[in-house]
């Protein structure tokens, strides 16, 4: 064998392509994993020593417990309402035919590109004390605008605002489910004389249940982590976990370790719920 100038391209040996991932892995390590590791470390430090004091505080102090309670209440409510509204809407959209469906799905994406701030401010303009809908309601039912709009700045107001970006997510998850549902199955069941309820239970439900669960997991995880909308509407007036973490960061003198412990618990929750979504939806849809 003589000497060769250029090594021939041997595609079978393209292990070196793994090098192409170095920049990606580097930024993920430096700017995601390292920060998360520091959060974890600091959550386990109290006055410079290793301890579970921060977690203990979270599980005993009212402030923290109630923030989790409100966050869960808010997220469960938004998830339930979002799912219940999203499913029929997604079906209606799916049944519209491909062109209308395309357009409607693009419209559905609008709330997803908006900053949380925009959503928050919008609902002040809509439901605030001199908001558009508030004033219409005043004209129609003669309500007191200030009293009526007070709810907007509580967790109940957040429910309405969150729905703005949650319903679209449910719709997007579900239209994919409708599209992959085998409609012949339905006709077959009905033509075999199965009743509507039986057909629903035996044919439709098993087929769409994974997507419904995936969609609600997504909604729940998004609500748990959402921040901008709540901040725009209430400042830090509603005691939910992301806002409480923020107050700990912004106000000096409060122990940051508590924020770290809150952050770890929040991340564990959102990550594990997002996993459900990934299992049931992303994998299925990328395999197709």
């Amino acid at each position: 064998m003589g000497k060769r100038g250029l090594r021939p391209v041997k595609m079978g040996e393209r292990r070196y392509l793994y090098l192409f991932l170095i920049p990606l892995i580097m930024i993920i390590t430096l700017f995601l994993l390292v920060p998360l590791i520091f959060v974890l470390r600091d959550s386990l430090l109290s006055q410079g020593r290793l301890s579970l004091a921060n977690y203990y505080a979270i599980f005993t102090k009212r402030l923290y417990l109630s923030s989790f309670k409100t966050s869960l209440l808010l997220s469960l409510t938004t998830t339930a309402i979002g799912t219940l509204i999203g499913i029929p809407l997604s079906y209606v959209i799916y049944r519209r035919g491909p062109r209308a469906q395309d357009l409607l799905l693009s419209l559905t994406s609008i709330p997803l590109v908006f900053s949380g701030l925009v959503v928050g401010f919008s609902f002040i303009v809509i439901l605030g004390s001199s908001g558009f809908i508030t004033l219409i309601l005043k004209k129609l039912f003669n309500i007191n605008p200030v009293e009526f709009s007070a709810f907007l700045f509580t967790w109940k107001g957040l429910v309405i605002a969150y729905l703005y970006f949650l319903i679209p997510r449910m719709i997007l998850t579900m239209t994919a489910a409708w599209a992959s549902f085998d409609w012949n199955l339905l006709d077959a069941a009905l033509s075999l004389g199965a009743s509507y309820t039986l057909t629903f239970r035996k044919v439709i439900l098993p087929a769409i249940a994974p997507s419904v669960i995936a969609g609600s997991s997504l909604l729940f995880a998004v609500s748990m982590g959402a921040f901008g909308t709540a901040f725009a509407l209430t400042g830090t007036g509603v005691n939910i976990v992301p806002l409480l973490i923020y107050t700990h960061i912004s106000e000096v003198g409060i122990e940051l370790g508590r924020a770290d412990a809150l952050a770890i618990l929040l991340t564990l929750l959102t990550t594990s719920i997002v996993m459900i979504y990934e299992r049931l939806f992303v994998r299925r849809s990328t395999r197709v």
């Binding site: 064998m1 021939p8 391209v9 041997k10 595609m11 079978g12 040996e13």
Partner: protein
């Protein structure tokens, strides 16, 4: 030594053994088909020859030279992919010219060569179209022209027609054969369609589980399959599981099956009798076959498919179904399901596999 030679080539992907000590020799100028079921290693064989992968062990020679020390470019191999893999941003002309430009040919030569190829494959009028503006069949022609443009030593076609509908497929099949014969390029053609393999190849290699089960001329493969797998894969066949009674008689489902040529087996050995549907004759009850009443069994019609000039009837003899092909006729049409009929097995056409 063949023009392309694979010796004891093995390739595994993790636990999957894609190729298992494969030996293959392709003669210069011939069209050899790799025929086999999905996952048997056809694509892997092509990719190894093309140089996209290295074998775990074994040797590959192209034109007498060790291919494993050659780069992809040096191998000078034209490939046609199942999904065409045309360059979507380049016109038909530029697609075909791609290899020539990459190899730094002169503008004149490129122009002449591409023009000639486009005329040969019959899409000269589409030279400036983009691939997305062509039909599937036209795209496949462009892919073929593109591969031929570099005057490859070897042409590899990986299921080139499988994405096309039947009509286009049949037409292109013969066109590929014609172009291959005219250019004289050594070609390996991959397919899992036995009809396609038998109709265009000089030789067919039937693959199974990373090995070659049988290699031979199409007629030989069809008429004389050496294993049950080949027999099964190459055509629609009846497989009768029987045991030997004596040298020229078998026992099948309690019936005697007389053979024309004796098999040298000890009594009571298990054998499979392979018989094509066209070699199973069908008679109405009471009809007396001229050929005698040997190997004549009574059964019931359990199904019927009209295949144009031929009608295939499934007959249930005891619990076994035997397929029988007859020329379509009033007599055959009038058969009702469940009707009793007689089938006669022409054992002179049968093959006994042990």
């Amino acid at each position: 030594m063949g023009y392309i030679e694979l010796r004891n080539v093995s390739k595994r992907f993790g636990k999957v053994v894609a190729l298992d000590n494969l030996n293959l020799s392709v003669e210069k100028g011939e069209l050899l088909t790799l025929l086999g079921p999905s996952g048997c290693g056809k694509t892997t064989t092509l990719r190894l020859i093309a140089g996209f992968m290295k074998p775990d062990s074994g040797e590959i020679y192209i034109d007498g030279k060790n291919a494993l020390s050659m780069s992809i470019k040096e191998r000078k191999i034209g490939i046609v992919f199942q999904n065409y893999a045309l360059f979507p941003n380049l016109s038909v002309f530029e697609n075909v010219a791609f290899g020539l430009r990459a190899r730094g040919e002169s503008e004149r030569k490129i122009r002449d060569k591409v023009q000639q190829l486009l005329e040969m494959i019959g899409i000269a009028d589409k030279a400036s179209s983009l691939p997305s503006e062509l039909s599937g069949g036209q795209q496949q022609r462009v892919a073929l022209a593109r591969a031929l443009a570099i005057e490859p030593k070897v042409l590899l076609l990986d299921e080139p027609l499988s994405a096309l509908d039947a009509k286009v497929r049949n037409m292109l099949r013969f066109e590929i054969k014609r172009i291959q014969r005219e250019s004289g390029v050594t070609t390996i053609y991959v397919t899992h369609d036995q009809e396609e393999a038998l109709s265009i190849s000089d030789r067919v290699a039937v693959m199974n589980k990373g090995r070659i089960e049988q290699l031979g001329a199409p007629a030989e493969i069809y008429l004389n399959p050496s294993t049950k797998f080949v027999a099964d894969f190459v055509g629609v066949n009846n497989f009768l599981e029987a045991v030997t009674w004596n040298g020229e008689t078998l026992l099948w489902e309690g019936y005697q099956l007389k053979l024309k040529t004796p098999v040298g087996l000890t009594p009571n050995s298990k054998v499979t009798v392979v018989i094509r549907p066209e070699d199973v004759l069908l008679f109405k009850l009471g009809e007396i076959p001229e050929e005698g009443e040997e190997n004549l069994f009574r059964g019931r019609v359990s199904g019927k498919i009209f295949l144009g000039p031929i009608t295939r009837v499934a007959v249930k003899v005891k619990e076994k179904v035997i397929l029988s092909d007859s020329i379509s006729s009033e007599k055959i049409f009038s058969l009702a399901e469940g009707e009793e009929v007689m089938v006669k097995i022409d054992t002179s056409k049968a093959k006994v596999i042990t």
